[in-house]
Amino acid sequence: MNLLYDERFDGALPEIDKHGLLADLQRLLPSVAILHTNEDLRPYECDGLSAYRTVPLLVVLPDTIDQVQALLRYCHERRVPVVARGAGTGLSGGALPLAKGILLSLARFNRILEVNPQACIARVQPGVRNLAISEAAAPHGLYYAPDPSSQIACSIGGNVAENAGGVHCLKYGLTVHNVLSVEIITIEGERMTLGSRALDSAGLDLLALFVGSEGLLGIVVEVTVKLLPKPEVAKVLLASFTDVRDAGRAVGAIIGAGVIPGGLEMMDNLAIRAAEDFIHAGYPVDAAAILLCELDGSPDDVAADSKRVREVMQQCGATEVRVARDENERRQFWAGRKAAFPAVGRISPDYYCMDGTIPKRALPQVLEQIEVWSREFGLRVANVFHAGDGNLHPLILFDANQPGELDRAEQFGGKILELCVAVGGSITGEHGVGREKINQMCAQFCEDELTVFRAVKAAFDARGLLNPGKNIPTLARCAEFGAMHVHHGNLPHPELERF
């Protein structure tokens, strides 16, 4: 299936004369801030969802808020679509450019403006890397909690757009729980602050609405985040299971025992073997599944919790429970998990990473179904989960050079996401909808709910110029590609025009 912007289903875009646009922007912005040759535009043609590429009309790299305002005012007036981009590490195609639009890179907004250890906050520009915030806070014994696996490269502006998570979400929350305020520029070029340095703000919680809005509501030009004191100690337990279902039960049992681990990750056998071959983390390659459970806090509490967790894991059928002996082994245990994606990349020419979430109790049922489909589609699946919060990352292995395999992988992935919705979960836990899951949005939300999303969008961007085609599908798209039930051969939405 081709997921590139399709005006038949995603809405018509205005025709824009590139030369006229370039001339106008050259009057508004310094020339170094504009890229227009094919050679310069090419590196921006995709983000982390590299199967889909579109060369944008122009790339703009402003470095002042005034420039962003001037650009957006112009785009609003002339109806030029704008796609914002942070570091371009997103996995759902949220920063996939439009052939008829400008790509607005925030990469030059790369300064840490303030680290305030008294108030435990950092104020940064959107292009600052996630890990750079923790590095800047480290001398004060503080850190920024959300740690998506791309944290060495991904930017905080992109994290806000995607409501990025990581392996420590269950205990420390997502981006939305760790951002105090954002400065945004609306498509009309107006600057406003959502949230504040205080713990709440007057009026509606527009910050909560904005976080995770995937660049459709406004452009972030500054972010203030909360910093946390580093936990005194962190300990990791590695448990092996001969049955994936036992590992799944152990996850619920640990939480039911009143322990909230800093991280609780599961890998299945294919993922274990791939990671072990790659990193030599010391994983048990014969295990059907492993659980990695990190406990952090004060030394006494961590000791008490790890005793408890070990007992629970054994009661749930763990054949072996190992505690990392020292910091080196702890890093080693995590290294295997963190390298799971590239490790799978070594055993398959391509893989397709899913991001569904489910209630934890549905885990055995979902895993069994994935296994059945894996056989039906003839494609292997390596399962890696943020088990503590029910966030699955099944990696579907395929070879794009084999005709039809990408299509099959996408169909398989689509079925997994629809299953996540059917068991009460979501099509995306942390990677975002972007372009990748635009059709599955029609399975998770009914037409009326999508209409509410469009109403929210209209309140911020009535002309629909910010990141069109992402996050919220049109009715026409749902009618054409959505996973809607067709009863008695009648197509849903007979009132809609067919193209």
């Binding site: 305030n116 435990c120 014994g141 503080l142 409501n163 979400c169 269950l170 939305v176 406003m192 602050t193 959502l194 504040s196 340095r197 205080a198 713990l199 007057a202 009026g203 509606l204 919680d205 527009l206 609405l209 995770g212 509501l217 004191p229 580093k230 936990p231 619920g252 049992a253 939480i255 009143g258 909230i260 806090g297 004060s298 030394p299 006494d300 008490a304 919790d305 979430t357 934890k360 503590g388 919060d389 029910g390 009460g424 979501s426 995306t428 836990g429 990677h431 909808v433 998770q444 939300f445 009326d448 709910e449 509410v452 999303f453 929210v456 969008k457 209209a458 309140a459 911020f460 996050n471």
Partner: protein, 361 residues
């Protein structure tokens, strides 16, 4: 006892009936005054309109302690929710105040008020995972879900927290819950307010199990929660005398002597580490200084200017001699305009609690 009997006899799904009521209101241009138990009715402007009382729509729909999620109808008494959680050693970690026996789950979310644990554990909206609501077209819709992580579409569910019924009728809410800590200890330290604020600032960057910090004008109260080990060792380090845990309930419910006064009561929300503000009146510091209560008849504009300059906002919680003053801090004009556009989009007929938060929408 009465409450639980009422609960049994009134149990039922009222959503279809409410949809009809909203549909009628829209078509006849009637205004609707949404209310639960009315315990937070004093906050915000009065609403003229037909009452839509949510209390008949009650009941816990799903609660699985291993999922850390509870889903209940909006009219469920908050005490029922807390009792069900307590039975399994869990809690609403944002520690919402009740302000009366009639408080409902939906009202708690609509008001979005959190208790003493807020700075360390999270706000009401932080724990909202999903909701069902009747929107401004009388449609019964679902946003968010019953999973910890869900970034599909805009986060409409969290937007409902603290929206005071201005955007729709909440019918069901799913919230994340947390286990109650194994160990809890309250300490009382004899410090003046300025010194207490300085101490709290230095503790904030250290990994201490503090989950409550309040200076009541006399002394600093600290609550420690965690495992036995961390609570005991921190208590030794922090000093002070052991005090009664009931302090936190009295604080949450505004039953401390400080709150029993007829003067105007202001709630000041300030950035952490803000020093003591020089304002006329008497102050009580909660949230480690990030939420301050001020009894004062000082001029509202002056007071709000001082608080704004410090990076915060001021809510007129209970008006004494103040009249005609907006309950909530005035919004910056572009932000107000955005509120108005959002209200117009989500409630085009303007039927839900118009003017409850601000006269402008």
């Amino acid at each position: 006892m009465m409450a639980s009997m009422a609960s049994a006899s009134l149990d039922g799904d009222c959503s279809v009936q409410w949809q009809e009521q909203v549909r009628t209101a829209i078509s006849q241009r009637q205004l609707l005054a949404l209310r639960g138990g009315g315990t937070k009715q004093f906050l915000g402007r009065g609403v003229e309109g037909m009452t839509l009382d949510t209390r008949a729509h009650r009941g816990i729909l799903r609660y699985d302690p291993t999922e850390l999620i509870i889903t209940a109808r909006a009219g469920t008494p908050l005490t029922d929710i807390e009792a069900a959680l307590a039975e399994r050693g869990q809690m609403l970690a944002c520690e919402p105040p009740h302000f009366g026996a009639q408080a409902t789950f939906g009202g708690m979310v609509a008001a979005g008020i959190a208790g003493p644990r807020r700075p360390w554990v999270g706000s009401v909206r932080d724990f909202v995972l999903g909701c069902r609501l009747i929107d401004g077209h009388a449609r019964h819709l679902r946003f968010g879900g019953e999973v910890m992580k869900n970034v599909a579409g805009y986060d409409v569910a969290r937007l409902m927290a603290g929206s005071f019924g201005c955007l729709g009728v909440l019918t069901e809410i799913s919230m994340k819950v947390l286990p109650v800590a194994a160990c809890r200890l309250t300490l009382r330290l004899e410090l003046d307010a300025a010194m207490a604020l300085r101490q709290l600032t230095s503790w904030a960057s250290q990994p201490l199990p503090i989950t409550g910090a309040c200076h009541d004008g006399q002394a600093l109260y600290l609550r420690l929660e965690g495992g036995n080990g961390s609570v005991e060792s921190s208590a030794k380090r922090l000093g002070g005398l052991v005090a009664d845990d009931s302090f936190w309930l009295a604080l949450r419910e505004q039953q401390l002597p400080f709150f029993t006064d007829s003067q105007s009561l202001w709630r000041l929300s300030l950035p952490p580490a803000t020093p003591l503000l020089n304002l006329p009146g008497t102050q009580l510091l909660d949230w480690g200084g990030a939420q301050r209560w001020l009894r004062s008849e000082a001029d509202a504009d002056t007071l709000r200017r001082v608080v704004s300059e410090a990076g915060g906002h001021a809510t007129l919680w209970r008006a004494g001699t103040h009249s005609g003053i907006s309950t909530f801090h005035p919004l910056a004009s572009p932000v107000l305009a955005l509120h108005q556009r959002l209200k117009a989009q989500l409630d085009p007929a303007g039927v839900f609690n118009p003017g409850r938060m601000y006269s402008d929408f």
